[in-house]
């Protein structure tokens, strides 16, 4: 199986440790993932803000970069969801039948990390060790766009040393929402404040999620409040062996 890492632009540029963790984790599970160097972004920031024409060349470069892989693995529910649900919209906008066909081909091969681990590799226990008190926020797009269900929780429960506490109102949006976070900053922060309050109620040391975009928002507030709670991508927890 030829597997490609869709690292996502935010992880590439802002959270490279998440990408490295995916490489380490998959390699430990026997998958030598490749990094197609032509990749940039899934175009979601443009699509979700309404700039479809601007998204067309980005989607074009996406399908070029990922052509020919059996599986495309993304450490992001939001970016995987965007590829699956929005690339078709962008292709229709382009009126380019070849692009539409290429989009249909690549979209079907994209997996969010927990989907790839549980459904394709068939593992719950990835052999991780992470001796910390953790709570988990299911991000909206992984939950409601991709329907990943309890896959991330199954993976986390199998991590040795990890103490998992349930997050109150876990399924409620954190308020990030892409450009929503700045276009409607006050509402975004009001939603984030409630999420942060719930995270702090759990007493967890680490908040884990499958999307660094949401974690940048929640973590930004946790950091501003000097809460002492750390945010960490699911991939980094699953890759962790903490010296073992």
């Amino acid at each position: 199986m030829r597997a490609a890492l869709l690292v996502t632009c935010i992880n590439d540029a802002v959270f490279p440790d998440t990408g490295k963790a995916v490489v380490r984790l998959l390699s430990r599970l026997g998958v030598d993932v490749e990094f197609p160097s032509g990749q940039t972004c899934c175009a979601q920031p443009m699509v979700n803000t309404g700039y479809l024409d601007e998204a067309v060349p980005v989607v074009r470069s996406f399908v070029d970069a990922f052509a020919g892989y059996d599986a495309i693995v993304a450490p992001s529910g939001s970016c995987a969801g965007s590829v699956r649900h929005q690339h078709g919209i962008v292709a229709r906008r382009s009126d380019d039948a070849a692009l539409a066909a290429a989009v249909a081909e690549t979209s079907a091969r994209v997996y969010e990390l927990s989907e790839f681990l549980v459904d394709v590799l068939g593992v719950d226990d990835v052999g991780a060790y992470f001796p910390h008190a953790v709570t988990y926020h299911p991000t909206c797009h992984s939950l409601r766009m991709l329907d990943v269900g309890d896959r991330p929780m199954r993976l986390l429960r199998a991590v040795r040393g990890l103490r998992l506490t349930e997050l109150p109102a876990a399924e409620e949006c954190c308020g990030f929402g892409g450009t929503f976070a700045v276009k409607n900053a006050d509402t975004s922060v009001a939603m984030g404040a409630d999420k942060v309050r719930h995270v702090r109620e759990t007493g967890a040391e680490v908040l884990v999620a499958g999307d660094n975009s949401c974690l940048m928002h929640i973590g930004g507030m946790l950091s501003r409040q000097r809460s002492g709670v750390r945010v960490l991508h699911l991939a980094e927890v699953l890759a962790s062996t903490e010296g073992r």
Partner: protein, 506 residues
Amino acid sequence: MSATFVGMPAFPDAARSALADSQLRGNLAHATSTIRGKRAQVVGEVSEWEELRLAGAAIKDNTLHHLDEHLLRLERSLTERGATVHWARDAAEACAIVAGIAQQHGVDEVVKVKSMATQEIELNEFLAEQGIAAWETDLAELIVQLGDDLPSHILVPAIHRNRAEIREIFRAKMPGAPDDLTDNPADLAAAARLHLRQKFLSARMAVSGANFAVADTGTLMVVESEGNGRMCLTLPDILVSVVGIEKVVPSWDDLDVFLQLLPRSSTGERMNPYTSTWTGVTPGDGPQEMHVVLLDNGRTRALADEVGRQALRCIRCSACLNVCPVYERTGGHAYGSVYPGPIGAILNPLLRGVGHDKQLDSLPYASSLCGACFEACPVRIDFPEVLVHLRSKVVDAHRGRAERGVRCTLRAERPVRLGRAPKPEAVAMKAASWALRDAGRLGRLERLAGAAGRLLARVLRRSAPGGRRVLGSLPGPGARWTTARDVPAPPTESFREWWQREGGRS
């Protein structure tokens, strides 16, 4: 009667004022979480809920595809049963028709059944200008009307008020309210009953909407909780019903689906307490003169939008409002319309068009696209899809191009162009599109960010738990991020650079 949504600021500004009102946020959080819990329980009882949703969506879609035929059939059935059918292109025509009927009969007061269509066309305000008093008889609508307030929820228009506030409104504005009125809900309801009873008995004309209009038989239906609607529908001599054209269903059989979907989604009840149906005039029983005003007011515009038309499936249950994390925090007034929340964020721009009004253009952006509304919607309106679609229409309208509709005519306009005065956002998106269409360009930008990251690593003192350096403030538009959120400093090396350096080996 001075309260109006006209001139409301765009959503972000209206939301800011609402967010500052802690009483409002408390009232809303309490009310929406209560209704959410009730809905979740009664929806959970129905094993075939997903099949019912699919059926509801399919009935509405099929009807909308042949809307003209069903409406003409409805008109025939209604006319055969002795009702008079009027067609209204817009709010002004609909209001004039209702006022004309009242004036014809020398009526100067009407009682009203709770109705979104009449709120939408601002009928009460128009009637008041004509010297006709319209009395809301739904308890929550009465609270809004007496308080000279605006509705903030479709089902519970006074959801932003708590019982202490309601007592004050009744004591100050409701004739005959006892001085020692308490804020006990039973006492408040009893006072309203006394007040309304006089209206029911004296009014000669009633105005209603309809939840459903059955084309086969010409039957209109109203579902409600209080029974006040039924008083209006049976006591007066003249009944005028203002019905949006999307309310038509082909047959009684279709109601089987909707009468299961609506109460469970709306009030969180298995069945609503009052379901009233009426089929034309019955001599000697109930209203002896019946009028039905079939209202377009933008619905055909929405119908012409291939993606947006699914919003016309809406049965006004409010489930999307109750589960919306944005609505829960801002309340309904911030949406500047009688249709607030997720449905308002799509329905208002669809009914009225985009590109000509800042407030309307702001509505499709009043969502984090979390998808909770889609999940709750009993007729499966894909809100995130429609919101993103409408955002593209807003952007396109500001490119100076016509609203997209006929694709072939737009081929010539394919190159990315900005309007005459591009917004900073449009410039940013164009720049992002340029950088992100080529990995080489992105890589060069990341190397620049890496240099900044190395510099900042020496300068920045603050770090988040785990050791990541953070910035506490950003200049320009970034300041809107950092008012309440730190931002991670750029890493010294992008993933791409690491991969190249390590040859892809961790």
